[in-house]
């Protein structure tokens, strides 16, 4: 079932003025419950505008957006738009700049508090969220401003996870992090996805990370959806992706080169692990061929 569905969704900024700009144009899309979707697109492709519709931060200038089967801007649902924000959690870029509370605990508890949950329930959720993002309990009473950049970012993500959203959207959660920090956060998100069966949308400029973690890829280009399909099918359109300012993982480019030089190698290679398996397979085949 589709957890998020858009029907001819458009968003035009400054409509009717000389500055009119179509940020999202006529997007009809269905995102399945439980999917791990990588969202890619160059700067200005409309991806940020689109995802801000998913939790009702932006209202479409035309078309509809359905969350869990409900048209969130329909007359009868409009006044409960706040609930959509509990269902669809959005972690912005550089979320560490949004921390504001005195302690880590209070910051993470802010969202659940707004949901009107009991103290006890809030406590459970804060502990659970801290565990998901790998923050040790000793940090709970610390000021978030005394933490390192990576830790602050984890606090911000925990604050959204603590609302137990059905859909978790992360806008470039690893921007500016070193490789280890990047792998750690993405590993935790994968773990969260597997344990909670929630839907994840991961916006990233790293094709390597998308290939490694996502199951499906949503490609935005010129305010529209260029493609929404499995990692394999999307990355097989390498030339088109490169033309629109994106790319494919480095190992995929190597396999393309091998193929264009006449070797019959699989074109479904997007991660180092897949590349390793494929080369080993071909190498063994070649050696056995010699013996035969």
């Amino acid at each position: 079932m589709a957890i998020i569905k858009t029907e001819h969704l458009s968003h035009v900024y400054s409509e009717g003025t000389p500055f009119e700009k179509v940020a999202v144009g006529d997007v009809s899309l269905e995102i399945e419950q439980g999917a791990f979707v990588g969202v890619i697109g160059h700067t200005g492709s409309g991806k940020s505008t689109l995802i801000q519709h998913f939790n009702g931060l932006l209202k479409p200038t035309s078309g509809k957006i359905m969350v869990d089967g409900k048209d969130i801007w329909a007359e009868e649902n409009k006044k409960n738009i706040r609930n959509v924000r509990f269902q669809v959690g959005l972690v912005f870029q550089y979320p560490e700049y949004q921390l504001f509370e005195e302690t880590v605990y209070k910051d993470i508890a802010f969202g659940p508090g707004n949901m009107g949950l009991s103290e006890e329930e809030i406590h459970t959720r804060v502990s659970e969220a801290m565990e998901f993002v790998g923050l040790k309990e000793k940090y709970a009473q610390k000021s978030p401003f005394d933490l390192s950049g990576g830790q602050k970012r984890r606090v911000a993500i925990a604050g959204v996870i603590a609302m137990r959203p059905k859909v978790l959207i992360l806008d470039e959660p690893t921007a500016g992090l070193d490789p280890k920090g990047r792998d750690k956060i993405l590993g935790q998100i994968r773990e969260y996805h597997q344990q909670t069966q929630s839907t994840i949308l991961l916006v990233s400029h790293s094709m390597e990370d998308i290939a490694k973690y996502a199951g499906k890829v949503l490609v935005m280009n010129h305010a529209g959806v260029f493609d929404y399909d499995t990692v394999e099918r999307v990355f097989s359109r390498s030339a088109e992706l490169t033309r629109m300012g994106l790319s494919v993982p480095q190992v995929s480019r190597v396999f393309e080169r091998l193929s264009s030089e006449g070797l019959s190698v699989s074109q479904n290679v997007y991660t180092v692990e897949q590349a390793q398996r494929e080369i080993l397979r071909l190498y063994t085949q070649k050696k056995e061929g010699f013996h035969a």
Partner: protein
């Protein structure tokens, strides 16, 4: 080749309220030569940005010294000379653009330096051409993409005709195309205009293009060498919380599986050639 920047027992610590001193740089002894392209790698908090800020006297050492073209950065009356020699570009292009028109932004520092209008015109055009943004000179910066804005920021620096540009994660906020544009600009400045480059980055595929890599960890320089020397030490890089290019990792793994491949492959071209030979 002349030493443009050198550090001698550079030590930096700062005092945090109610706590003991925080040591950021321990005892750094490095030099960057004229015309060189150096990449600085290190995990978050390793001290690499702090190190970079010493290169143009944004920060001053608490011990040891930093020499820029022979000038000690601790001399307060030489700060302007130093900043004219060493320009800096930061991560977020939006924080570096001050004017509402591209060419005015590039001219900003020159006006402050009191340069003749005719000379400003010449330098601005020249700088915008070097970063391939000349045709956008009358655009408003907010209409540009991230990569374009970052190139305008670089133009603003090169208009001052510095000898060296220090870039602190200039591509961290950019999409793949923006990253390619900025990296190509940096490489071109280095190769065609002999500008010295110090690039701080988390992207290993950018560091591959440097002449030399310096790896910083816990305030110390722990590795230094050519990209090939550095990246062939895959396990050590991972221990340091860093990474290697995908092609390096692939060949490293294949070698561990007993396949006859070298473990110092760092580019796509090399990797393709190695795999082709292996399979044919």
């Amino acid at each position: 080749m002349k030493e443009l920047i050198s550090t001698e027992h550079l030590h930096f610590e700062y005092v945090r309220a109610e706590e003991e001193n925080v040591l950021v740089l321990n005892d750094i002894n490095i030099s960057i030569h004229e015309g060189e392209f150096v990449a600085v790698l290190g995990h978050n908090g390793s001290g690499k940005s702090t190190l970079a800020k010493h290169f143009n006297a944004v920060l001053l050492p608490t011990g040891g010294k930093v020499l820029v073209d022979g000038i000690d950065t601790a001399q307060p009356d030489r700060v302007f000379d130093i900043r004219q020699k060493i320009g800096m570009v930061f991560q977020n292009p939006d924080n570096q653009i001050v004017a509402t028109i591209v060419e005015e932004d590039v001219a900003f520092a020159l006006e402050n330096l009191g340069i003749e209008p005719a000379e400003i015109r010449k330098r601005v055009d020249d700088a915008l051409k070097k970063v391939d943004m000349y045709e956008f000179k009358e655009h408003a910066p907010h209409q540009l993409s991230g990569g374009q804005k970052q190139r305008v920021a670089i133009a603003g620096i090169i208009a001052m005709r510095p000898e060296c540009i220090v870039l602190d994660e200039p591509t961290a906020m950019l999409d793949p195309k923006g990253r390619r544009e900025v990296l190509n600009t940096v490489m071109e400045l280095n190769r065609e205009h002999s500008t010295t480059i110090a690039l701080i980055t988390h992207y290993m595929d950018e560091a591959v293009h440097a002449d030399r890599i310096i790896v910083v960890d816990h305030g110390d320089v722990v590795m230094t060498g050519t990209p090939r020397e550095i990246f062939s030490q895959v396990d050590k890089m991972k221990e340091l919380g860093l990474d290697v290019p995908q092609v390096t990792e692939l060949c490293h793994r294949l070698k561990q599986e007993g396949l006859p491949v070298p473990d110092d492959v760092i580019t796509e071209e090399e990797c393709t050639a190695v795999l082709k030979q292996l399979l044919q």
